[in-house]
Structures are given as C-alpha cells and as structure tokens.
C-alpha cells in the first residue's frame, strides 16, 4: 500500500528524465559503465559521458563498445570481478543483448540496466511501448517499471540494492517509458549522495573472479547439475519478491519517498473495478480515476511495479473481492492475442478460490497516445462487464479499422 510521500519543493529541480537517471547512476558510484547509444536512451549515456569527462564519477571506467551485445558482454567481465556495473539501452539494442541477458542472470551478476522502453522493428518505430523489455521476461532479470522520473531515479538505487543482496544476486532492469519519461522535464528531488552512501553500501560479492583465488563462472553444466542451477535462479527470484518490498520500505524510511514496492494501490479500498497497468500511463489513469470517483464510479488502480518476479500474492490480495479487473498492456504476445500482464494475471488466478472476470486491452503500441478518453471508455466497458459479463476478453484499443 502506498506510503505517504511528502515532496519538499525546496529540494526539487526541473530536469530531463534522462539527466535524473544519469545523476542517480553517478550517485550510486558504479565502477564500470558500458553502453551503446540508441534512441530514446541516448541522453542517459550522453549525460553519463559528461559526468565521466568532468571527473564526477571517480573509480569508474566507461567502456566504449561497438554494439549492445558488446556493452553487456563487457559488463559480464566487470561484474564478475566485483565491479558495480551499469548499462542502459532500449528496443533493438535490448533484443541484440538477448543471449547475454541469460548469461548475466545465469552467472548471478547483479548488473543494473535502465531500459528506455521503445517498440521493436519491423516496421521501425522509435516511440514508446513495452514490447522490448516484456519480450525479455524469461531471461532471469528483475524488471521494475516506473511511473515518473522521481520514481525511476529512486529506483536506480533500489535496483542495485535488490540485485546485490546475497539472497538475490540477480540483474535488474529499471524500465522507464521512452520519450514520455526519458525526454520529459519535470520537478524531482535528485538522488541524494549522502543518504545513498548509507542506503547502498559498496558492492562486496561473496565470490569474484580473482587470479589469486581462481574460480570459473558460467562453466559447462551437464544434465546432472543444470536443473539445480535453474532451480536456484528461480529461488533467487522468489527471494527478490521480499527484497523489493523491503527495499522500498527502507528507502522510504531514509529518503521519505515511496512509489510502491512490488505493487502500489490508488483508491482501491472500496473499488468494484480495478485497473492494472505499468509505467507512465499510471499518472493518466490516476487523473481519470479522480474524475470518475466524483461521479461515484468505484474504480481503483493496481500499479504493477515489479513484473519479474511476478507479484502474484500481492495482486491477488488487491483483486480478491472486486467485481472486474481490467489489465492494460503496452505489448502483445503475438499468437495469444493478449498482452503479457493480462496473461500472467489470469494465470495466477487459476487454481485459486478467486473468481473475478478479467479483461485485457492492448494499447499505446509504437507510441500511440493514450488520452484520458481511452481510459474512460475502457472503464465504461468494465461497467458493462459487471452488468452482463465478458463479451470480448482481450482486444486492441483505438484500432483504426480503416487502415487494416
């Protein structure tokens, strides 16, 4: 449940989302950064390069590479020797990393990477949706989604802390909507150095690559032992569930800001209808909910902050007694005619005593704007489901039929 966040306006500044993230990375004192510029992530790595050139990130190496594949591969080495390692990417860059993403998770390297979420080709499209990171959901990376630039800035420090926890040791993607958050100017409190030094202790992994004490990472595993590696990775992800929640609370105690742990809730207390969504669309939904609440529509929001590990229990607790659940996805699992959040939500409800209708909408693909009117229309659909049941389980919104 949301904890009250009081923002001190005196401490806030108006900066671009990308700057806020780059600054947060600087404050977290990384030892190695490697990234390849790609729209709309570019401003993040430009700002980091400036910090490097100005000597503002001491004890850090910025490794220039020729591709995203190389960027993440370089970090496999650096993280394995015990260096706090960071990258940022999006879309095709993230897809190019696909193979390495598994390696990072398999070797239990707590790399943190910002994903400035963007659609994937073809057709080429540089605008926002969640297809890039959602398509990497099985790689073993923790995935957190932010609603505004304050949250993604704060999430950067949280991500290192979660990933580097000895019971977790899994990498983390902090996901921010490309352009919508990466290029927006809005007020925030920049991540504070002094508090962060206390919140995030230096990275001291139990095992590192060390020529004096040789070890092998990611070596051959035959059928006798491979399953056990996979089991331990899954166990680490389950451990991360608690760690994500604890870290958000600890962050709140020290910084006074909280945007949810695994999930967040908004006006859910007496809600008949719950909307589930991730990312920057959360803000727009909150405005719609306030408007509809004035008309006595009992609607609330369940913000999914952690998509991996999937917060099944936290979600079930919120939707147990509601009348309709509406899931919004900025992605599609082709051949399933549904978005990933919708599919996962439905799957965790099966074999339980919860019997609530769930409908899904695929929206905002390739940067198509989601105005308040689209959300209002969806909520009126949900009211219809309350009255007369599900007619269409999962569908595209704002589809231009005349172009099809």
């Amino acid at each position: 449940m949301a904890r009250e966040t009081k923002m001190d306006k005196q401490k806030m500044v108006v900066v671009e989302g990308s700057y806020a993230v780059a600054n947060a990375v600087r404050v977290c004192k990384p030892n190695v950064i490697s990234a390849y510029p790609i729209t709309p992530q570019t401003h993040i790595v430009e700002e980091l390069s400036k910090f490097m050139a100005d000597g503002e990130i001491p004890n850090c190496e910025y490794i220039n590479v020729e591709s995203e594949f190389s960027a993440l591969s370089a970090l496999v080495g650096s993280s394995a020797v015990g260096a706090r390692s960071y990258s940022a990417t999006t879309s095709q860059g993230l897809e190019l990393m696909h193979e390495v993403l598994f390696n990072v998770a398999g070797m239990r390297l707590p790399i943190v990477m910002t994903v400035a979420n963007r659609a994937v080709s073809a057709p080429i499209n540089i605008w926002n949706d969640h297809q890039d990171s959602i398509s990497q959901r099985d790689t073993g990376w923790i995935q957190l989604y932010a609603e505004n630039i304050q949250e993604v800035s704060d999430m950067t420090a949280q991500a290192f802390k979660i990933s580097e926890d000895r019971d977790v040791m899994m990498p983390c993607m902090t996901c921010m909507d490309g352009f919508i958050l990466s290029h927006v100017y809005e007020p925030l409190v920049l991540l504070e150095q002094e508090i962060t030094d206390e919140f995030l202790p230096p990275f001291r992994p139990e095992r590192i690559l060390d020529s004096k004490n040789p070890l092998t990472f990611g070596a051959f595993a035959d059928p006798n032992i491979y399953t056990e590696f996979r089991y331990q990775q899954e166990r680490a992800m389950q451990n991360a569930l608690k760690k994500i929640e604890d870290t958000a609370n600890e962050f709140y105690d020290m910084y006074g800001r909280h945007f949810g742990g695994l999930i967040d809730e908004y006006r859910t207390e007496d809600a008949d209808i719950i909307i589930m969504a991730m990312g920057s669309i959360i803000g727009t939904i909150k405005d719609v909910i306030d408007r509809l609440r004035e008309r006595n529509v009992k609607v609330g929001l369940l913000k999914v902050r952690a998509f991996r590990p999937f917060p099944a229990e936290a979600i079930m607790n919120v939707i147990r007694d509601v009348k309709v659940v509406v899931v919004l996805d900025k992605n599609i699992s082709l051949g399933m005619n549904a978005g990933a959040l919708f599919i996962e939500t439905k799957s965790v409800l099966y074999n339980t005593d919860i019997d609530v209708p769930v409908i899904g909408y695929m929206m905002g693909q390739g940067g198509r704007d989601v105005p308040m009117s689209t959300i209002e229309k969806i909520i009126s659909d949900a009211e219809e489901v309350m009255r007369s049941g599900i007619k269409i389980e999962s569908q595209f919104t704002d589809l231009k039929e005349e172009l099809v």
Partner: protein, 181 residues
C-alpha cells in the same frame, strides 16, 4: 492546469522554449511538465513542444489536445499547420509577426496577438532566434508567469553575455505585450 503548445520549425528551439517555460513556472512556485512531440527533429520541419503548468503535481502523460495557449514561432507555419487546432475559446494565440492580429483569419474564437519577435531578437540578441523572446511575450500576454522567472531560467541555461542579451529581449517583449493587454 494550463496547457501550452509551441509551434516552430526544427532548429528554432521550440523544445528548449517548452523546457525553459517549465523551469520558470516551477521557479514561480507552480508545478510543471515539458515534453516534445517526439521524433520529428528535422531542421526546418514543423515541430511542436508542450508545457503544462499547474498548482498541483502533474500526473497526466497524454499529449495536449485542447491547449489554453499557443505560441507560433514562424508565421509561415500557418500555411501548412492548423496552429489553432483545439485551442480553447478563451485561450490566446501568440504569433511572431509584424502584421496586426486581424490579418490572421484563423478558425478560432481565441484571442490572437502578434509580436515582432524577430525584430526584437535581431535588435537585442543580434540573431533571429525568437524562442526566448516569445516566452517574454507569453508572460506579458497571459500573466501566467513572471518575466523574472523566465529570465532566470534563460540565464541559467545560457550563462554569460548570451543569457544577458536574451534576458533583455525577454523583458522588451514582455513590456510590449503587457501594454497590449
């Protein structure tokens, strides 16, 4: 909440103007949000940038469809772009032009104002860069923001002589528009 749309051509600093407006509004004690119409950053092409200003924190992330104010940096845009699109009836449209407002026959009930920002920019800044000048005009025409806050934001972004000259031009445009209200 007040919503502002800035029309310009790629290279004219529309996005910078929107950002400076957000910085200035926050300095005035408001909350603000600025964002570009993404992905059209070609020199000379019509571009748009947006700013929201509000007393409360801004959560809305959709594009702006019904602006309270529109700023047009280049009057030749009127030939190809519907700059008055969605503009509220009680809104204001500010055009960089040496013509009288009545010259512009636009499909809007909103108030149309003109300011020769190019001349002010050439006279004071020495270059035909009008984005900051128009922010001064915006402050004078609407009263939504203090000119000092805009000058402060511009000085911070462009330290030294450049910022000073811009600040002078902002004040000049502000005074001209204030007088017309």
């Amino acid at each position: 909440m007040k919503e502002i749309r800035i029309h310009g051509r790629g290279g004219q600093g529309s996005v910078t103007a929107a950002e400076l407006l957000a910085v200035a509004a926050f300095a005035d004690g408001k909350f603000s949000q600025a964002f570009p119409a993404f992905g059209v950053e070609r020199r000379g092409a019509p571009v748009q940038a947006f700013t929201r200003i509000s007393d409360a924190p801004i959560r809305l992330r959709s594009q702006i469809y019904k602006p309270d104010y529109v700023i047009v940096q280049d009057p030749t845009l009127l030939e190809s772009v519907d700059v008055a699109s969605g503009l509220k009836d009680d809104g204001t449209l500010i055009i960089n032009s040496d013509f009288d407002p009545e010259t512009f026959k636009l499909d809007t009930k909103a108030k149309i104002m003109t300011v020769n920002a190019t001349k002010i920019a050439l006279d004071i800044i020495g270059m035909p860069i009008v984005n900051t000048v128009l922010l001064g005009a915006f402050a004078g025409a609407t009263g939504e923001i203090r000119p000092e806050s805009i000058m402060g934001a511009v000085r911070e972004r462009f330290p030294g002589k450049v910022g000073e000259r811009n600040a002078q031009a902002i004040m000049k445009a502000y005074e001209m528009m204030e007088g017309q209200k």
